[in-house]
């Protein structure tokens, strides 16, 4: 007898993502991923000045502000064929990599670790043993017995106060929780230290972006940061030196805390390398351009069909035609209508809402279903890391090897990159990518200083908009994966604008051929120990770092449970 479970919302963003699964004999047999909120930002942009689009699109989401801003200016620049001064590329690259580090760290420690870490169990830990364990994993300077004992004390007070805050909706004592009290205490200690670490990333974005959370320094054609070596009001060497201190602190945290923690927690949950594979057709954007045209990149990206790294095909430039020509979106199962049958390319994409009820076999989501040459594709750090491995990208290979070696030695048996195609593998890939991001951030800092040292202070090329119609798209490897903005500009005004966001790729509903999407596919066969507490579903969906752009932010003083789990 099968049982239907509905979880709404599955993230802690109200009204965004609903997941329904059917469970038969303790395993998921059917799944539906549904975006519960209409994102009509495309319509707001029609008729506007393309130079303003980035400032508007960065309001789509509170988590992904800068990534929409960067992708938007790239889309307009691509439409105009406009080159970007390399100083501006370096500054954008630093903002993007610092933002990615912020996102990856916050996602792991503050959002998804709680699916694996039993906070209450940490109260039973021995601080001495915890410290010894931590010191066996890395030489991080904040793993002492004293610090572990302090965390335990803090936690006891906090739990005693009854105000659990971010820990309130955890599944404490769930049979699927497997860490020892010591590993749990270690994770809680690093949760607190991660709050400090993410502040370094925020500071970098704030200094370079002039303001946060919404950066102010972008412009179509470059950045608006004037560079001067002697002025107070602009980007000075002194400010850049402050940025370097934050970069170093952040990099140390990633290498000595984040990477070893993911390896350790992952090794305890080795069974989760067997679940969550889902769609193994991967796409990812090359990122961190080092030339003005966007033809040379520090981290590769491209397409890997059917998990076969030998068939990797790179995307080589901004505006890459293999990427451009492969993308379509279907609304057969989404709450929209198109004026013609079939899926549509984003340049001719339409945003006409058509709400029905939640129909298992019909329409059930506000997300469209994107495809790449007719097939579903998974995006995200896993796709990015696999492309890096396929392309022989050295930093990716280094951090991946390190991660897999640590896991192998903790497990006492050798594991290879094949374990990455899984729920826990997506977490591992995110940490590997964070290692790469830390290097990219430091290198862009050095390249910027070196170029300024040569006397090049240029940060902006003025755009000119032709009469008639031009079109272009911007691509970016955002923390959640490949993000693209597509725009048609007519007589200097926006005539069409479509955002194809990472969570649309991963969380989209069934497509034109009724094929399930990556979230849905990854849930298949997941074990469900207790339908009233479907922790396993959360683990798999959270491993994608779900963020369905647009963040409702309403204070609601009705006293009701926020997460509704219905097991029918």
């Amino acid at each position: 007898m099968s049982k239907r479970i509905t979880i709404d919302p599955i993230t802690r963003i109200e009204g965004h993502l609903r997941i329904d699964v059917e469970v038969d004999n303790g395993k998921v047999t059917k799944a539906w991923s549904s975006g519960q909120m209409w994102r009509g930002v495309e319509l707001i942009l029609l008729g506007r000045d393309p130079r303003d689009a980035w400032a508007i699109t960065q309001r789509i989401c509170g988590v992904c502000t800068t990534v929409h801003a960067i992708t938007s200016v790239r889309a307009v620049e691509n439409a105009l064929g406009l080159e970007v001064p390399i100083n501006a590329q370096f500054i954008r690259n630093m903002i993007a990599s610092a933002h990615a580090l912020h996102d990856h760290i916050v996602h792991f420690y503050h959002l998804s670790a709680l699916d694996f870490v039993d906070v209450v169990s940490a109260l039973k830990a021995d601080p001495d043993a915890t410290s010894k364990l931590a010191e066996s994993l890395s030489d991080w300077g904040m793993n002492s017995r004293h610090i572990m004992a302090q965390t335990k004390e803090k936690l006891a007070t906090f739990v005693g106060s009854g105000q659990l805050g971010p820990f309130a909706n955890g599944y404490w004592g769930h049979p699927a929780m497997k860490l020892t009290p010591e590993v749990n205490l270690l994770a809680v200690t690093h949760y607190l230290q991660a709050l400090e670490a993410q502040r370094h990333a925020s500071k970098i974005v704030t200094i370079l972006g002039s303001k946060s959370p919404h950066i102010q320094n972008l412009a179509v054609g470059g950045v608006s940061n004037p560079i001067a070596t002697d002025s107070q009001s602009v980007l000075t060497v002194e400010r850049l030196l402050a940025v370097k201190e934050h970069i170093d602190a952040l990099s140390e945290f990633v290498r000595k805390v984040y990477l070893p923690d993911v390896a350790a927690i992952g090794a305890f949950y080795a069974d989760w390398t067997q679940y969550g594979k889902g769609i193994t057709n991967y796409i990812s954007s090359p990122e961190f351009p080092t030339d003005s045209k966007g033809t040379q990149f520090m981290v590769p990206g491209g397409h890997i069909p059917d998990a076969d790294l030998s068939k990797y095909k790179p995307f080589t430039t901004f505006g890459d035609s293999y990427l451009r020509d492969g993308v379509e979106e279907s609304v057969k199962h989404a709450w929209y209508t198109y004026s013609k049958p079939g899926a549509l390319h984003p340049y001719v994409g339409e945003t006409t809402p058509h709400y029905t009820d939640f129909q298992d076999e019909g329409k059930y989501s506000w997300l469209k279903a994107p495809t790449f040459y007719g097939k579903r594709a998974q995006v995200g750090p896993l796709a990015n890391v696999l492309c890096g491995l396929a392309a022989g990208h050295q930093p990716t290979a280094t951090y991946a090897t390190q991660m897999l070696n640590t896991v192998s030695s903790l497990l006492g048996s050798k594991v290879g990159p094949e374990i990455l195609h899984s729920t826990i593998g997506r977490h591992a890939a995110r940490a590997i990518r964070a290692g790469v991001m830390a290097e990219v951030l430091g290198q862009n800092w050095s390249m910027l200083l070196e170029n300024i040292g040569k006397g090049d202070h240029t940060t902006f090329n003025k755009p000119t908009f032709p009469k008639g119609e031009v079109m272009g798209f911007g691509m970016h490897e955002a923390p959640r994966g490949l993000l693209s903005h597509w725009t048609v500009i007519k007589d200097g005004k926006i005539a069409n604008y479509q955002c194809v966001v990472p969570s649309t790729w991963n969380a989209g509903p069934r497509d034109e051929n009724d094929e399930i999407g990556p979230y849905e596919a990854s849930l298949m066969d997941n074990p469900i120990a207790d339908p009233e507490q479907p922790l396993e579903v959360l683990r798999t969906v959270h491993s994608f770092d779900p963020c369905l752009a647009c963040a409702v932010h309403v204070h609601d003083d009705e006293k009701r449970e926020i997460v509704q789990v219905k097991a029918l």
Binding site: I13, W38, V41, R59, Q163, P166, A551, V554, I562
Partner: protein, 161 residues
Amino acid sequence: MRVVVLGVGNILMSDEGIGVHAVTALEQAYCLPDSVEIIDGGTSGMDCLDRIAEADLLLIADCMRSPGKQPGDISRIADAEINAWFKTKISPHQVGLSDVLAACCFHGISPKKVVLVGVQPASFETSMQLTPQVAAVLPQVIAKLVAELTDFGITVSPKAA
């Protein structure tokens, strides 16, 4: 003395953005001392942790749905009421404001006083404009924020026209 005035909300969703509109208008219309920082927080959370931490007063402007209220009605909750509300209601936002406040609490760096001025929304339609009902009370919301600052001993004066 350090005061943070934080406007939160999504300005692409009409009344959802009232908090941001209010603090932006406050900054434009009033002279504020250096001890007061205005933040357009949008829908972000953790990015604001640094500045919220250990503030003497955190004054939040947001939209707030309350049963039985009319669009444009203004509510105020503070300190213990906010904590009580967090107990029953976990964050509606991904590492949203309530998570940041809880993280501050866990860390022992909570703002000393927290006041939330909330406005009942009429609509969350996709639009960069407030609805007429909510736009009409914007001056009152700003006046309320000014009154809160004045009560806290901050000198606030209108900018010369």
